[in-house]
């Protein structure tokens, strides 16, 4: 019997990869890998972005999705350039997952994610902690689901 978390995000499990644009304008190749842990009690998210030509890493991180007693997503995360944080779900459209949490140094991280037609869209922003001063530009990425390699019939390997 799938857990509430898997009923909501089971379709997100797997590997996603695509181009991304960082808030400072740099472009990279972003990969997310979502794996169910303990039969769907949590989902582990391993993330990395690379310089496409060389494969040098730009960012690397991990996180866990789980549900709190109210059924909200709690996403504790690690990013090598941000450190550790706990993000909690904030209200948004049903098909969008919005998360927000405090970062070291009185900063706030907001993230929105959605999946439609095998395309995962994610945008994130680091902003000031309390005074809702306008935050920095967003990091934006669109990733396609990595599936089995499709070869048209008779195509040479």
């Amino acid at each position: 019997m799938p857990t509430r978390l898997i009923k909501r995000f089971g379709d997100w499990l797997g590997t996603w990869r695509g181009t991304c644009e960082f808030s400072d304008g740099r472009a990279g190749l972003m990969q997310f890998r979502l794996t169910s842990v303990f039969n769907g009690e949590a989902i582990q998210v391993d993330t990395a972005s690379y310089i496409p030509e060389s494969g040098a890493p730009m960012t690397r991180g991990s996180g866990f999705f789980s549900l709190d007693r109210q059924g909200r997503v709690v996403n504790n995360i690690y990013a090598d350039y941000l450190g550790f944080a706990v993000l909690v779900e904030t209200p948004d459209d049903p098909e969008v997952l919005s998360l927000e949490g405090g970062l070291p140094g009185n900063m706030t991280l907001t993230v929105t994610m959605s999946v439609a037609n095998d395309l995962m869209t994610l945008s994130s922003r680091v902003g000031e902690g309390y005074k809702s001063a306008p935050g920095r530009p967003r990091t934006y990425t669109q990733m396609k689901r990595v599936g089995p390699i499709q070869r048209p019939k008779g195509d040479a390997p």
Binding site: A42, S62, F64, S66
Partner: protein
């Protein structure tokens, strides 16, 4: 002395043993250390079972990694405590001592001590927020773990 993830990469592999809890229950424990994020993090998958693999008493998946400041913390999910961020407390070489509070304010302590080549002494306990730091009656688990070296027939 501050620790680095590299100090623990020699633990990569599966460790297992039979230990017990404060209530005297025997537990079969399996822990899998895996290098992750290009080798800059250490993933730990921990399972504590009854000795017939019927009931998974407690499962923890965690990732030990360096914050930008260099401090090592473990990001994790526990089937009992939910999401966790534990801090690595400074300790001797061959010791991984993690401690922190869950979102329900339980205080957790998890320690692996390599006190002999090929052996890890694992100890974990937690206490609720209302208990004093000296409280000794809380849930506790101890086990001596060995690398899961496959059995091979005795050489002729």
């Amino acid at each position: 002395m501050s620790r680095r993830v590299a100090d623990y990469l020699s633990w990569v592999g599966v460790w297992a043993g039979v230990g017990d809890t404060q209530a005297g229950q025997q537990t079969a424990i399996r822990t899998d250390f895996v290098a992750g994020l290009d080798g800059t993090s250490l993933q730990m998958h921990f399972e504590a079972w009854d000795t017939e693999f019927k009931t998974l008493y407690h499962g923890v998946r965690a990732v030990l990694a360096p914050a930008p400041s260099g401090v090592l913390r473990a990001l994790g999910y526990s089937t009992i405590h939910g999401p966790l961020i534990l801090e690595l407390t400074p300790d001797d070489e061959g010791v991984m001592a993690l401690a922190g509070d869950s979102r329900a304010n339980n205080h957790l302590s998890v320690t692996f001590v390599q006190d002999a080549p090929g052996e890890l002494l694992f100890t974990a306990f937690w206490r609720s927020a209302d208990k004093s730091a000296q409280a000794e009656d809380g849930p506790r688990m101890t086990c001596r773990l060995k690398p899961a070296t496959p059995w091979s027939p005795p050489r002729a």
